[in-house]
């Protein structure tokens, strides 16, 4: 009667959701930031994003060939890594440097650990850390958005020397800390620009509105939970508020810290990378608070103006410990009655 019946464990039906769909959702969430990058940094943005995505995908394909593993490009995680890496790079970075960063992201950040799901550190941040350590000047050369300097789009990428550059909002706030006294002027002048993105900075990190839009999409799709972004932003706000209360002349107001630099982008798109974040909710709160606090410590007390990348990598390293610390307690309590 019936020839080919399958036998397997229950359940026999499943939600139509795949890893690929999750990754595509993240990519869709990144679209507003990509669009804003395109508006303000024109050809630089598109070339950088294209280069990173292509190199991430190509590197993953090659790694799988060498490891004799099935092709894993179908899960789109390499594409997401490429976009996130590109959006966290300065607009005028030479394309060859972006290509190196992409390859490092995939090889060192992901495939060396065994591919998707096994990596300890966020691949995009591994690549970015490598670039920061290797090409310090290029990684801190900030191009002025095209709407401010119309001459910019004609520049060939890589020709960073002639580019008109500008300090990032966080560099300004760092200057205020070091030289004192002008924090209020800076923050009131630049706050609106950090919302729209019409300011110098990494490709995808300048516009708070675009990031919030994408973040809202991810929350609505339940691709990410609110715990990590809330913990990162909440703890960063508290730390910034403490500094502001201590000396409002030296330290910029806390909202300015939230909208400028990588904090918002990181809270929604980098820290929420499920592979490198804790599993339990309590763990997510700890993880997020750690990222927010470390970022603010670096921004306020450290030498660098920005600390999101270091904070994420540091907290990635302790994620296994957090998972061990924050065990789930069964609904019926701990006892093995």
């Amino acid at each position: 009667m019936l020839k080919d019946i399958t036998v397997s464990f229950a359940p026999h039906i499943s939600q139509p959701l795949s890893t690929r769909r999750v990754m595509i959702d993240v990519a869709i969430g990144l679209l507003p930031a990509v669009a804003v990058a395109g508006i303000y940094f024109r050809i630089h943005a598109l070339l950088l994003i294209g280069t990173c995505v292509a190199w991430c995908a190509a590197t993953e394909w090659v790694c799988n060939r060498i490891r004799r593993k099935p092709n894993s490009l179908g899960d789109f995680s390499a594409v997401v890594t490429g976009i996130i890496l590109a959006l966290s790079l300065p607009p005028a970075l030479p394309l060859w440097a972006a290509a190196i960063g992409s390859a490092v992201s995939i090889v060192v950040g992901k495939m060396a650990f065994g591919g998707l799901g096994a990596n300890v550190f966020n691949p995009a941040m591994v690549g970015r850390a490598f670039l920061t350590a290797s090409f310090g000047v290029m990684m801190t050369t900030w191009t002025v958005p095209a709407s401010i300097d119309s001459g910019m789009p004609t520049l060939s990428p890589g020709d960073a020397v002639d580019t008109r550059t500008q300090a990032t909002p966080l560099a300004w706030s760092k200057t205020a800390i070091k030289e004192g006294g002008e924090a209020k002027t800076y923050s009131s002048r630049l706050f609106l620009s950090t919302m729209t993105g019409e300011v110098a900075g990494c490709l995808g990190e300048t516009s708070a509105i675009a990031i919030l839009l994408g973040g809202a999409y991810l929350l609505w799709r339940k691709t990410i939970g609110f715990h990590i972004p809330a913990a990162v932003l909440g703890s960063a706000f508290v730390a910034a508020a403490i500094a502001y209360l201590v000396n409002a002349d030296t330290y910029v107001q806390p909202f300015f810290h939230l909208t400028s630099g990588a904090l918002l982008f990181g809270a929604f798109f980098i820290a929420t990378d499920p592979v490198t974040a804790p599993l339990t909710r309590r763990g997510m709160w700890l993880f997020g608070i750690g990222i927010g606090t470390i970022t603010m410590i670096i921004r306020i007390l450290g030498e660098y103006p920005e600390g999101m990348m270091f904070a994420v990598l540091l907290m990635n390293a302790v994620t296994p410990l957090i998972d061990r610390l924050c065990k789930r307690i069964p609904a019926g309590g701990k006892s093995h009655a």
Partner: protein, 457 residues
């Protein structure tokens, strides 16, 4: 609303699979197929298997006890039809693989007739002694008909400690597709209620709640009306519950209705609660009032691949093959035959597997319904997205447990409370990497049991 009830009327977490009840919910209970040979398995319950009380060649009458109990936690089995014992042999069993069974050749195969049940006008549970009720239930071979199959007489016995204060009747039927309990509540309402009152009398519970998911408004209405008619509104209440899987899980139901939590590793009587299924309640009334043993049950034969789906009154021991054939056979698309529903049911490898006391449904699924990835059992790496943690009704960490089992780290699995898993399947259902988390956890439990020598290898 009394203090015993909470506002939310559901447990936390869980999933919302497509309900798919429309296939059979409006089909009244009909007599099932006439079967020439029935296989009565000797282990259809939790506890010791029963011993055959007949020999090969013996003639048996309908309702005759053919499997006896030697242990306390056990339930006897009875012949559903008159006939001859053809053989005592190993037969396919949905859980155990194979199990000792009594094969009966029916004298003249006929479709079972629907039982008549006329509640006596002067029916009063107080006239039955608790021990009498228990005895009748035990003799009739009653087990929990919702799935687990724990002997009912052990559950409702009066002298157990601690005292039971609440009887919870499970009319949730949270599994997709299955509608047998729903039809029983609609068509045999008075019988169900009589059984509930007898069970209440036996276990001495002062309060009774009937939990029904709110996707069955007709059942809620029918039960409420019947309670009012019987004048039991004082101590029996219908509690509508949110439609969510696994609302009908014993521990989830207790949590939803009473707001109490059964301790990990514990059982409901520890907090003074007895849970029975509505079909079991109907069988209790049959057993106590008419001395009818449990030889037939309502089975939902369903799924998009079945030609004539419906709710059938079927002899226990009917091979699934015969039942499917009776329902018009299967279409070419069918890929999986499941005993039970798609979330917790067992995929059947041998279609000669007989219907048991606990098997409320036969679901035939198409490849399309299983999903291509699940059909090919293609798993990808865990991306630690945490969806399984979000849905686990027991608040476990399924991915950690499953991966511990996969790496053969049973001690890690144990310290992550593998034994607290109720195997509801929510984690596998949501996993975007298509990992069979529930399967790994079930496997881990078997490994652990073998380590402790509780189970032969």
């Amino acid at each position: 609303m009394t203090d015993d009830l909470r506002d939310k009327r559901t447990f936390s977490r869980g999933v919302h699979p497509p309900e798919s009840k429309h296939v059979t919910e409006d089909r009244p209970i009909e007599p099932g197929p006439a079967v020439g040979e029935l296989s009565i398995l000797l282990s259809q319950h939790i506890g010791a298997p029963c011993q055959a009380a007949v020999k090969k060649g013996d003639l048996v009458e309908a309702g005759q006890k053919i499997g006896e109990c030697q242990a306390f936690v056990c339930a006897p089995v009875h012949a559903p039809v008159p006939g001859k014992v053809r053989d005592l042999a190993l037969k396919p069993h949905p859980v155990l693989g194979r199990c000792q069974a009594i094969a009966i050749e029916a004298r003249d195969p006929a479709r079972p007739s629907l039982p008549s049940f006329d509640l006596p006008a002067d029916f009063d549970p107080a006239r039955y002694k608790p021990d009498e009720i228990c005895e009748a239930v035990r003799d009739a071979g009653l087990v929990g008909m919702g799935g687990a199959g724990f002997p009912t007489s052990v559950k409702i016995q009066p002298d157990a400690k601690p005292p039971k204060h609440t009887l919870l009747v499970n009319g949730c039927e949270c599994e997709p597709y299955i509608t047998c309990d729903y039809r029983v509540m609609l068509e045999w309402t008075d019988q169900v209620l009589a059984g509930i009152r007898l069970a209440q009398r036996a276990c001495g519970a002062s309060k009774v709640f009937i939990g029904i998911e709110d996707n069955k408004p007709k059942a809620i209405e029918a039960m409420t009306t019947a309670i009012a008619r019987a004048g039991s509104a004082g101590d029996i209440r219908v509690v509508p519950l949110q439609t969510k899987y696994p609302q009908g899980g014993e521990r989830q139901l207790i949590n939803a209705v009473l707001g109490q939590t059964v301790p990990t590793g514990g059982i409901p009587p520890m907090i003074g609660v007895v849970v029975i299924n509505v079909a079991t309640a109907a069988a209790i009334a049959d057993a106590v009032l008419y001395n009818r043993p449990l030889t037939h049950r309502v089975v939902t034969v369903t799924g998009e691949a079945i030609a004539r789906p419906g709710n059938y009154y079927v002899s226990i021991g009917t091979p699934i093959e015969a039942l499917i054939e009776f329902c018009g056979g299967v279409t070419e698309k069918s890929a999986k035959v499941v005993m039970g529903g798609p979330m917790m049911g067992l995929a059947i490898a041998d279609l000669r597997t007989p219907i048991t006391k606990t098997g409320g449904a036969v679901t035939v699924l198409t490849r399309h319904q299983i999903g291509q990835a699940k059909f090919e059992r293609r798993q990808t790496a865990c991306i630690r997205c945490g969806r399984c943690l979000e849905v686990c009704p027991e608040n476990l960490n399924p991915t950690r447990i499953a991966h511990a089992v996969k790496s053969n780290l049973l001690d890690v699995a144990e310290s992550d409370f593998i034994s607290a898993c109720i195997e509801c399947g929510c984690c596998s259902y949501v996993c975007p990497a298509n990992i069979e988390l529930t399967g790994y956890i079930k496997t881990g439990k078997i490994f652990l049991a073998r380590q402790r020598k509780k189970m032969p290898a």
